[in-house]
Each structure stands twice: as structure tokens, then as C-alpha cells.
Subunit: 389 residues, 2 copies
Amino acid sequence: MRRVAIIGTGMTEFGELWDLSFRDMGILAGFEALHDANVTSEKIDAMFVGNMSAGRFIDQEHVGALIADYAGLAKTHIPSTRVEAGGASGSLAIRQGFLSIASGMHDIVVVGGAEKMTDVGDDEVMNIQSAAADQEWETVFGATYPSLFALMAHRHMHEYGTTREMMSSVAVKNHKHGSLNPKAQFKREIRPEDVERSPPVSLPIRTLDCAPISDGAAAVVMCPLDMAKNFTDRPIEIIASAQASDTLALNQRKSITEMAATRVAAKRAYEMAKIQPKDVDVAEVHDNFTITEIMAIEDLGFFEKGHGGRASLEGKTGLQGEIAVNTSGGLKSRGDPIGATGVAQIVELVQQLRGKADKRQVPDAKIGLAQNVGGTGATVIIHVLGVGR
Amino acid sequence: MRRVAIIGTGMTEFGELWDLSFRDMGILAGFEALHDANVTSEKIDAMFVGNMSAGRFIDQEHVGALIADYAGLAKTHIPSTRVEAGGASGSLAIRQGFLSIASGMHDIVVVGGAEKMTDVGDDEVMNIQSAAADQEWETVFGATYPSLFALMAHRHMHEYGTTREMMSSVAVKNHKHGSLNPKAQFKREIRPEDVERSPPVSLPIRTLDCAPISDGAAAVVMCPLDMAKNFTDRPIEIIASAQASDTLALNQRKSITEMAATRVAAKRAYEMAKIQPKDVDVAEVHDNFTITEIMAIEDLGFFEKGHGGRASLEGKTGLQGEIAVNTSGGLKSRGDPIGATGVAQIVELVQQLRGKADKRQVPDAKIGLAQNVGGTGATVIIHVLGVGR
């Protein structure tokens, strides 16, 4: 396999972007990434687009071709591929871009992720999000995306003594990080009591335990590592790409206090990258709910199973902690435009490994890890990045 | 790049499959392919699923994980990836499976395609299909999928003298082939006058110019060519995979009597396979409407531009013609469950190159080509298959 590097990144601000259409967002993120990479558009060989549900959000499938078209790339007829795995759609696009270069098929590849969620009503957003869970065994009976994670949270509290306070600490920390990120949807800090007084969604999950509904797009430019030095002094290498699946429905799993797919994908990723969990300096993990981050930092091996809540409360995952988690603000505070999220995680890690993360910089960050979840963990994708040599 | 072979195929019958759910169909096709390949499910390294719009047809996104789950593969946590490019979703899955093996990432890969279209009303099917065209510039103004192809047909008639009779001959030929295919949706022959008397959809396109609405799934098993001999005496190699895009909206194209993406993808495919159009013995092309097959056989270089209609009328694309086109019955007669179609094309070519196509066998077929179209040609994917050596 050829080694693959990221040479440019771009993203829109995340939030309620009333003035930008789906196609506008895709173009803005893409052009920022091309500019950052010093690549002109006629050099692009292929594009991959992560998107969960444009078919339902904006009545538009076939968004791979759409974005290529609006980026002016129809004239070079580049292949453009849309991939989907619920909330993990963005990192799935990263992975397909990686494979297409690793295989030798393509050299310069743009990977984008985008979702336009705010053009439909809130109820409909909930229905659409929940379509990443099992329609026949969960959502048709009224289970929603938050209610499924509430089951996990309850059980995690029961088995490990995880508390309301620990969950709140995750939200507080991620808002703090988000306040340092100019592109975050929420750039303001919150207090634990804000989380605890926020309206219940599906207890124990409250409004401020949840990632928001967001519009946004993110993009990266990739190429073979041995070509990357032509474009940048500091290419960031994708040193591992791993993906695992699990049952779509929660009720089929042995445990709902862990994501088995995270554990399996992490094992594969650590082997491929030849690293241990302790080698990771900075991680972006999937915090669609506060409990999800707690499970992630356990399943990734950063903390022992059942200790993730306490570690969060003790500040071990903050910028000055043992391992900096969700320095971007995470889904919680940076925002979660579904298909864009996995790509935005990579954008953040690249900034960190370049040493360009400004006020949220993790000193001397050398290894970054991104974990991105689809559904309630039926797809988990992990990428490990390092400074290219 | 590692060389890649197909070692097994499976598919459901196509049609209105009231007794089979989306997941049932996926499993049936997949298990038939595994059985054909002599591969047990624990040997599978990854899965790719082509599907256009399960989110709207059955309220279910995340169908990569769904199919892996219902195939019993959640226990081995294999990566499973859904891809989408409108009507080209199936061949897009073939291509991603191909890249994943060519790269060295995976060895044994199952590629499936599936769509369950008949669980929603006919009007809604039309809306969903049309979402592969440009929502902002076409469908929002009332353009539908058939009406866009009707524009192409009218212009083709105007520029090249293509006639009603020529278009009818495509439908007649494909129904004839379909009558020889036990898995075809329509296993009966039709006469030219049946096409000409069928109700108008969007003139010049009549009902019998159109591929039907279908349920169905198809699957193949792939592995590196050098491993294929462990499973089969006659592996079928993917000797080229090429993909090209074009503008999503018709009105942005220089010509609507050709698909530029077909011409570009064909050029790339012929170069990669080191063949000429005349070397192709059997082709499955995208005949969602009769005019689409006429354009395809021109744009693929089988016949001169403007001569495709006459060639069809003269029987040059029949089983005994110069080049056998759509021996399966094509989308027209075999059926067109959108995400399954591109995979079903490959299933047919594998049968032909194995010499196992029974009454529709093309004598001594050595090179097969599949051309699969998304939208009105904004994505075209071409694969060339040969007998593995």
C-alpha cells in the first residue's frame, strides 16, 4: 500500500447557515482546502463525499456528482463518490479516499463531508437522524436516537457508578474548547449547572448533553506521501485507517455500556499504526451525547472501562490533561452536520499536528486519533494521523 | 495495484417481491454468492453495499451495517460501506470493493447492491428516482427522470434521424433476452407494436420504453486474482474500473445526445484494460429507457455516433449480432432495483465469461463490459471483465 498524506484542510463555520445552500457549503470548504494545499482544481483526480441523508434533508441524492459539478470539476469529469454510514459518513469518505490513493488508482483526492440539516423541521430532523438506527426493531416502535443513547447512559451509571456530574463535565469541557475555535457552532462556555438545568430530552440525557443540529461542510486534500513535499513542508500522514461494524440494533449486543466496534476498530488501528493508546497526544471522539465520549475514551483504551466518567470530571481529557480530547469542541460544541463531522475531526487533528491550533494547541502534538460513530455504534471508523516523514 | 477477481455471484429474482424485505433480499443474494464462491462467511474481510435511497424507500439509512448485521457478520465486526451515485450505486460498490482489494487493505470482499422500491406509492417512486437529477435546477420545476430522458430522445431523433421503430427494437430485443433469464422481472417477449401502443409517459418515451420499478438484490464475492484459484477454476478478472462525472443538470452540457461521462469513462477503461471497443464480446449497458441504450452503444464506441438506433433495428446488438448487448434483459426486462442494477450487470457478465449463461450464452465470450449510469449521466461507471489467468 502506498503511504497517504493530508496536505490541505478547509471547513465552513458550523451552525445554522441560513445563507448557504448544501452546494455552497461544499464548495466553500473544498476551495479552502485546495487553497491550503496549494493545489489547483485541474490537478484533482477524484473526490469522495460523506453525507448521511441529503435525500431527505434537501430532496437530493447523487451528491457526489453534485459537489464535483459545483466545484467546476465536471469539465475534467473526475470520479466523485458519495458514501454513507450514518454519523460515520465523513470518516468513511476519508477512508475511501485513503484506499483510492493507497491502491495507486488516484494521486490527488479531495474528501469532503457535508450536511444541510436546518431546512426541515425539528421533528423531521429527529426522524432522519434515527434512520441510522434499526428501523424495523427500534425506530418503528418509537425509539429515537437520544432515547437509545439514554439506555446506554442509564446502564453505564448502573454498572460503573457514572454520575450526572461526570456527564456534565464532558459538556463543560467541550464548550470550553469550542470557545477557542472560531469555526465552532457554540463559542461560549457553559457551567455544570447549565447542563443539569437544561430541559430533559430522554433522561438521563438533557438538552446540553446533546450535540446540536447543524449545517456545515469540511474538506481535506490528500495525496501520496512521497508527493506531498511538493505541496507542503509539513504533510500529515494517515498512519492507520480502521473500520468495524456491529449489530444495527442495540438489543442484539452483549453489552450496551461499550461499543464493541470501537474496541475492534481501535485494535486494528493501533496495530496498523504500531502504537499504543498512551502514544496518542490528541483525540477527536464522537460525542453526539456526553455519554458517548465517556464510552469512547474507555473503549479506545485511554482509560479503564468504567473510569471514563471520573477521568472526565477530573480534567484528564482537557487541554492540560493526560490526553486532550475534542480540542475542536467536539460534536457537542463545534457542531454536528452529520456527514461533515468525521471530516471536521480530521481537519482539527491536522491543525493540531501542524502546530497551528492556536489557543487550543496541544503542545508538541505528534499523534492524533479520530473516532467517528454511525448509529449507536453499528459503524465505527478510526483514523490515526502522524507527522509525515 | 493488486489484480482482482470475482469468484462468486448471486442474485434474487427481480420484480415486485412482496414477500421479501430489504434485508431478506440482501441476505439471499449474498449467501448465494458465498455459496457459489465456496467461501464461508467468517472468511469475509469487508463488505460494500450499493443503494440509492433506502432512506426514502424504507426509512432506513446505514444499510451497509444493516446488511452486514443480518448476514451474521456483526460477530466478526467487518467493515461495511454503503455507497451511492443514483442509478450507478451498484457499480460504485463494485469499484470500491475493487479498490479495497487492489490497495492490499482487504482480501475477501462481498459487494452487494439492493433496492426495495415497491413499498411506496408510484408518485413517490418517481420523486425518489428524480432525486438523482438536479433538485434546484430540474426537479423543483417539475422535470422528472423520464421527462429529462425524453429531451435527450427528441434531440437524438432530430440530430440523427433516430426513429420510434429503432427505439422499439431495443425494448423488443431486451425482452427477448429477458425471456431467457430465469431471474428477469419480465420473462415474456413483446412486439414493436406493443411498445408503440403503450401509454405515453413523456413523449417520445412510452411505458414500454421504460425500465420497470423493481425490488431486488445482487451480490458478488471478490478476492485477489492470485488467491482466486483456491476457490474456483475459472476466476473472472476485473481488468478495468473507470468512473467519470458530468454536470448534474442536463442544461449545463454541451450535448444531450451523448453522455460525455460515458465517453470519458470508456476511454479510461479501454486504456486500463488495453483493449478496443471491438474486443468486447458482451456488454451490459444502462437501458433505463430505450434511448439510453442507443446512446450508450454509440458513446462506448461500439457504433458510430448517430448509428446506434439503426444498429439496434438491424439486430446488431442481439445474441447473434455483432456485439451482444444486455443479454440479461437489461434494466428494461431483467428489472432495475436501482442499487442492485450495477451489481446485476456484473453478475450477468460473470455468467457469460464462465460460459454458464445457458440459453442466452454468447459463444466463446472472453471480454465483457458493463456501463452503469447515475442520474442523466452525471455519473458513469464502466467495468471490463476478462477470464482470469
